[in-house]
Subunit: 185 residues, 2 copies
């Protein structure tokens, strides 16, 4: 599998990876129990502090691991990992060790206890900063406290979920920078 | 400009359009004042009721129109509208009539007072159902109460924002349906 050489990435700029809306893989750990989930219901909420909101179904094994450990890693997979992400999304961490089953490599994060997934393009270390919306919406608010990404490619080839088992693969990139006001950049 | 012939679309399936993470154009109206904003910070929150969460900066002219009227339309533009969406995002409804300036056609919605944008691929009529997260996060929770979309193409050619004036255009679609458990579809 592809391994990316990663560097510190500014946390206030992680919209580059999340705002386009890719499927992410969320890794978590609590008292020796580790899980990975495949997830598409997330949004950027703020640049600085770097806030991200995620809806995670309470029935998911990861839900309690994240709620109790108060952290997770949001990993950005690229298209080589599409089949792995589908597999991860179609079994439960209650039954299997997903790192082992799917040949993924856990790497220790620097600021959180959850493991990072080495094979993913980028890894966002997240602390749970607001759990008030869990009861009503299973909605976690995380602060990205450290981010790791490679210098190339600048834009990962991601996959995006439409439901019904169908994914959209990211296409080409186009700059409209000259049409932006300076303060909008 | 391209005009799509639209039909009722099941509100519990609008993830097809929103979960991949496209830039959307949000239209709103309050006491004769109408606005459009370009927005990328949104997430699906629930299938049924069909809930969507959106972060809209309080400084945006649309913020008060939506907060006061308690509704909006989330319009899904396709790539032909990329320059229009950039233009809409780089001026304020305080200064200009964006429908007029950008040659967009307002169409009356059926269940909300906000106008729909005719030229967009799909239109999601939304009612504001929870404003408790406005103070902390400028985060609106909407229920999609009616949706309009064409039958073809099934998947619109959308654009997704990465920051710095750069957009990702949606690429090809691939089905992994056979790798899903029935209950995950």
């Amino acid at each position: 599998m592809k391994h990316y050489k990663k560097y510190d990435f500014p946390v206030e700029k992680i919209r580059r990876f999340l705002e386009p809306g890719p499927i992410v893989m969320v890794s978590s750990s609590w008292k020796g129990d580790t899980d990975i989930m495949t997830m598409g219901w997330h949004t950027v909420l703020e640049f600085s502090p770097s806030l991200v909101g995620c809806m995670i179904t309470a029935a998911n094994h990861s839900f309690e691991l994240i709620r109790k450990s108060k952290n997770c890693v949001i990993n950005i997979p690229t298209v080589e990992l599409l089949d792995v992400a589908v597999g991860v999304g179609n079994c439960s961490g209650r039954d299997v060790d997903k790192f082992e089953l799917f040949g993924l490599t856990p790497v220790a994060a620097q600021k959180v206890s959850a493991p990072m997934i080495k094979e993913c393009y980028a890894n966002l270390e997240c602390k749970l900063v607001d759990s008030k919306m869990l009861n009503a919406y299973n909605f976690f608010v995380f602060e990205v406290v450290k981010a790791h990404a490679p210098k190339t490619p600048k834009y990962p080839k991601t996959f995006h979920y439409t439901g019904d088992g169908v994914f959209m693969l990211s296409g080409s990139h186009v700059s409209k920078r000259r049409q932006f006001k300076a303060e909008m950049l």
